[in-house]
Symmetry: C2
Subunit: 259 residues, 2 copies
Amino acid sequence: MKERPYILVCNDDGVFAPGIQALISVLEEIGDIIVVAPDSPQSGMGHAITINATIRVNTLSHTHNKEIYSCSGTPVDCIKMAMNKLAKRTPDLVVSGINHGSNSSINVIYSGTMSAAMEGCIEGVPSVGFSLCNHSYEADFEPCKPYVKKIVNMVLQKGLPKDTCLNVNIPAVSSEKIKGIKICRQARALWIEELDERLDPRGGKYYWLTGIFKNQDEGSDTDEWALFNDYISIVPIQVDFTSYNTLETLKAWDFNTNH
Amino acid sequence: MKERPYILVCNDDGVFAPGIQALISVLEEIGDIIVVAPDSPQSGMGHAITINATIRVNTLSHTHNKEIYSCSGTPVDCIKMAMNKLAKRTPDLVVSGINHGSNSSINVIYSGTMSAAMEGCIEGVPSVGFSLCNHSYEADFEPCKPYVKKIVNMVLQKGLPKDTCLNVNIPAVSSEKIKGIKICRQARALWIEELDERLDPRGGKYYWLTGIFKNQDEGSDTDEWALFNDYISIVPIQVDFTSYNTLETLKAWDFNTNH
């Protein structure tokens, strides 16, 4: 019998979040799992790594088929810690999530959940991030489960193109309303910040970062369109950030004349 | 007379780092500047934003042509704070750096300095990140200055292609040895982690994240090649992470058959 796949699981909402628990419940039927996830919420950590402070790891449980660790670091730290210290062998797959809240469009760049998947990809392992478009702690992850199972099994079977991971977002609707899965491009969007200015008890100013998501992209081939129309969006994400389309334009600039 | 350009300056090594001081000395000759930079080192923060804690800002100096603020947040927070709260108008340019250490190749993804530039780009302002390939606090930034001036002036004059910013890396050699500027693609590379395991005074394990940079790319069109051969590398960086090359491959997968 073929060896069961070995799956590394991470997220950014923390090891005790309902989203990662839902993910674990699906993945432990598919393979042996190792969970290395933050010991506290790390939303918005992007691709941060911990270089000016130390990192701690706690073993939460350890059985033959399932190891669970919490880590004081960022989601990317968790992947590095797993790959280089905790995992018994190189994982066959990295799965991150299920995130509480959307990581579609430009959110991918701020997301600790997707950065964990991107780090898996950098390290050469097929990697997928899952997010449910509902920020609530009480969000219903049940409708996600068959799709997580399907996508994970397909990636285990087919692999992924080199240097590419998947950003999967799931609309926050009931199972019957989900229309299917669409392969999309990242919608062009940004956050219009609102820095909420307050005074502390001693009269000092401080700020909370908040904002409104603004989609600038009408394209029906985007993740935003798919999610708005009750499709699950999959955007293939690359870790090569080179803007190949503009290389020739820039080469034509006269950077090397005398200055 | 045409209005002087208004330039937003940031970094990740902190507002007092020699690298940003060198950058300021060049930019204040070109335009009016607003500096919003971290109040402490934020290397490796990637595109992190502060959403579970508050942010403080301190005014360090404020004259007609030069405003300098320190901010308790990440480099990306600094850009958001500047664009939405502190700047007197939308800046004409965002410049981040000069980073103490290389942000070439895959380092771009971990870099707070480059994330500040990417955030400027997301917010629609031409943005450039500069890094010197020398981590030392005492690094000599003098050879960088004429190139910073040249690149900044060119970007102010020509603008940048939409949704693209520049990742500029400068080799740590004397002025005479710099061979010129090359437009490059991001080299394929990764960090091979070494998690340095230690025991605290009470016998508890902790780790320092460290590692060795491994270039996997022999291409003479890469930033690594350019820097190794004493060229300044410029990689155009895009904030759309979609892997367009793989969209058709993934569309051919049968995601929507019954599961």
